[in-house]
Symmetry: C2
Subunit: 490 residues, 2 copies
Amino acid sequence: MSAFDDLLAFQRQTEALASVAGRLVWDQETVMPRGATEQRAEEMAAMESVLHERRTDPRIGEWLEAAQPRTEAEVRIAELIARDFQRTAKVPAKLAAEIARQTSLAQGIWADARANDAPQDFLPTLDNVLMLMREKATHLADGGDLYDALLDDYEPGAKGDDIAVLFDTMRPRLVALREDVLGADAQPAALTGHFAHDTQIRLARTCAAAFGYDWARGRLDIAVHPFSSGGWQDSRITTRVVESDPFNCFYSTIHEVGHSTYELGIDDDYAFTPLGRGVSMGVHESQSRIYENQMGRGRAFTGWLYQRMSDAFGGLSVTDADAFYATANRVTPGYIRTEADEVQYNLHIMLRFDLERDLVAGRLDVEDLPEAWNARFLRDFGVAVDRPANGALQDVHWSVGLFGYFPTYALGNVYAGCLNSAMRAAVPDLDAALARGEAGPGVEWLRENVQRHGGLLPPRILIEQATGAAISPEPLLDYLETKFGEIYRL
Amino acid sequence: MSAFDDLLAFQRQTEALASVAGRLVWDQETVMPRGATEQRAEEMAAMESVLHERRTDPRIGEWLEAAQPRTEAEVRIAELIARDFQRTAKVPAKLAAEIARQTSLAQGIWADARANDAPQDFLPTLDNVLMLMREKATHLADGGDLYDALLDDYEPGAKGDDIAVLFDTMRPRLVALREDVLGADAQPAALTGHFAHDTQIRLARTCAAAFGYDWARGRLDIAVHPFSSGGWQDSRITTRVVESDPFNCFYSTIHEVGHSTYELGIDDDYAFTPLGRGVSMGVHESQSRIYENQMGRGRAFTGWLYQRMSDAFGGLSVTDADAFYATANRVTPGYIRTEADEVQYNLHIMLRFDLERDLVAGRLDVEDLPEAWNARFLRDFGVAVDRPANGALQDVHWSVGLFGYFPTYALGNVYAGCLNSAMRAAVPDLDAALARGEAGPGVEWLRENVQRHGGLLPPRILIEQATGAAISPEPLLDYLETKFGEIYRL
C-alpha cells in the first residue's frame, strides 16, 4: 500500500465513524425514547472522543507528507484532509474541549433565556462563548481576519469582505421589494382550514417523490425542527406537521429533499472520502432552496400541488390555482427568520451577518447586541422588535458557537438564483414537467452540474462551472422582483 | 485518579461505543433504508475495529495489575473486565478476523442452502466454521474442555457435562408429556380469522404496558425476527405481525418485554460497566420466558387477553375464556424450534446441544450431521424430518459460529421454572393481578430478586439466591405436567 492508500483507508474508517455519529443525532431527533438523553450524551461523547483522536492522529501528517496522489480526485482528497488536519492541529485540545463544554451549557441557558424573554440571563454566557470563539479564530487565522477563519468551516474560501459587498448590493433592492409587496393592494388570502396529520404526511411523501427522493436510500420521519441526515446510501429526511398550515409540512419536506438528494447524488466513488459530501453549507442550501422555492413555489408546481391538496383535503379555502400560487408565496410581516418568505429571508441573514462580524471583530460588545439588533431590524424591516425572544434571542446559532454560519443561508439563495437561471435556459420544458408534478428534469440537471461532484470542486468554481457565469446576486434579485411583482401586481 | 478509576473510565467509554454499535443493529433491522446495506457494513466494521482495539488495549492489563477495587461491585467489575481481556488476548487477532470473515460469508451460504434444501451446498462451509471455532476453543480452553470454553461466552461458569446430566433428567418426562398431549382426546381448537395489522400493534402495546414496559425508555417497532436491543435508558423491543396468527405478535412482544425490562431493571449505578447488562444468555432467557409463558400464557392473563382480543377484533372463533386458554397453549407436531410450544421447545434444544457437543469434540463429522439430526428427531419427536430445511438446516446459529449458545435457551426455561415457583410463593395474589392485565407484582419481584443485580452475581448464585433453592429441573417439569395435564385432561 502507498502512503496515499494508507491515508485513504484510515480516512474511510473515520468517515464511517462520523456517519455513525450522525445517525445517532438522527435517532435522537426522531425515534429515541425521551428518557435516554443522559445515555445518548455519553454515547455521543464517546464517539466524539474517538473521532477527535483519529482526526489528530500524527500518522495523518506523515502520510500526507509521503502521499503521491495520482488523479484530480486524489489530489483534492489529500488537500481536504490536509486542510482539516491543519485546522484541527492549530486549535489547542484544551480550548476545543472548553468550547465543547461551554457551548453545550450555553445552549440550555439560551433556551431558558429565550423562553423567559430574559437577555440578561444569556448575554454573559454569550460573551464567554464569543471570547472562546475569538480565541479559536486567532489560532486558526495565522494573523489574518478572525471572521474569515471561522467562516472557512462553513463556506471554504469565502471572505467576509466579499460577502459584505455582495450583501450591500442586495439590501436596497430587497428592502424596496419588501416595502412594495407589503404595501400593495393585492394581498393574497391565507389558506385556512384543518389539514389532518396523516393526509399531510401522505402528500408530503408524494411531494418528496415528485422531487425524485430515493426511498430505497432514505426515509421520512417527524422532527421538531426538520433536518436531513446522512449520505451515500442512507440519507434521511424529516418534516413537521402543523394541522392549520400544510405548506409548512410540504415545503419543509421539499427543502430537505433538496439537501438529501444532493448527498445521494454524489458520485458513489467518493463515498466515505472528503469528496463524499456537500462541498459547503452555501452550496447545500442552494440545493434545498432551489427545490423548495424556484421549483417548489413556482406557478407550475403549485398548480399541481393545488390539485393534489384539493383532492386530498376535499376542497380548499382558496379556490383556483392562480390564487393558490399567490397564497403559497404570501409575504407577511414577521420577526422570525425561520418563518420568513423568499422576499424577507435574506434581510434576516444580512442583519445577523453584520452583527456577528462586529462581535467577532470586537466592534460590538455583547451587552449592546439586543439594542443593535433592534435598531437594525427597525431600519431594514420598518418595525420595532416587540420582545427579545423575537429579536436577538431567536436563533440558537451563536449560543453553540456558530459564528460565520449565517451568511451561508443567503449565499445559498444567491447560488440558487444563479443555478435557476442556468437550469431554466438548459431545461426549457421544466415548467411543463413541474406542472405534472415531475421535478425530474431539473433534478437531473442539478445532479449532473452540481450534486455529483460532491467535494471535488470548491464552491465558487462549482457554481461558476455549472452556470457558465460569475456568481452574482442579479439572477436572484431579478427572479424575486419578477415573481413578486407579478403576484402583488406591482 | 486511581488505576481502578482509569480502568473504569476507559471501560465506560468502550461500553458507550458498544451501545452505539448495538443501536446500529437495531436501526438496520427496523428503520434502515433497504439500499444502505453496503454502507452499514462499512460503518459496523469501523465500529468493530475501534471496539477491538480498545478491548485489546495493553493499558487494560496494566490498570488491572495496579487496580485496588474497594467494594463488592468494583471487585466484580475488575473480575469481568479481566475475564474479557484475557479471553480476547488468548485468541490470535488473525484467527478472530478470519472467523469474522468466514462466518459472515457462511451466513449467506447457509441461507441459500436452506432456501434450496441443499445441505451439500452448506456442509463444507460449516466444516470450515467448525474448524475455526475448534481452533478458537483450543486457544481459550488452556487444555480444558473445548465445548466449555465456547459455552463460557454465553453462560459463564456453566459446564457441558452438568448440562448433559440436567438435560438427560428432563428428556424422558418431556418425551412422555409430548406423547400424552399429542395423543389426548381433548385437542384445543386453533384460533382462526383475520386479525388486522394495526389492531394487533395496538393490542401488543397494551400487552407491553401490562408487563410494565417503560415507554419513556423504550419503543416498539416491527422486525422480521423479533428482538430487543439496548439497556439503561434505552431498551427497544420489536415484534412481528402475521394477520392470521395474533398470538405470534402478542407473545413475541411479551417475550421481548421480558428481555428489555431485565436490562431496564438493572441498577442505574451499573450503567456502562460490565455489571450494566444481563449476566448470561440463560438468565436473560429466563426473564423473557417467565414473562411470556409462566405469566403470559397462564390462565389468569389469557382470561384478560381473551376479553381484550374479543373487544378489539369483535368476536373470536374461540368463544369462552377456558377454551381460549387451551388454544393459546395448543401443542401441535412441528419440525421448527422457533415455532415450538412450551412442551416441545426444550426437546429441540437438547437435540442441538448433544449434536454440537459431538461436533466440537470431533465425535461427529459435519458430513454425518443431517443423518444424525434426523435419527435423533425421529427418536425424540416420533416423526421423520421431511426435508433438510426442516432439519439440520433450520437454524442460523452454527453458520455464524454460535456453538455453545443453544443450551442457554433451555437453561433459561429451567431458571424460569425455579423462579416461577419462588415468585408464586412470594406473590400469592399474582394471578389475581394478571387476571386484571397487571403483571406488576411479578415484575416487581423479578426486578428485586433478579434484574436489578445486572452482572453483579454469577448466574447460578443469582438464581439460587433469588429462589432460596438449588437449581433443579423439577419446578419446570412439574409446572408443565400440571398445566398441560389439565388442558389436555391427561
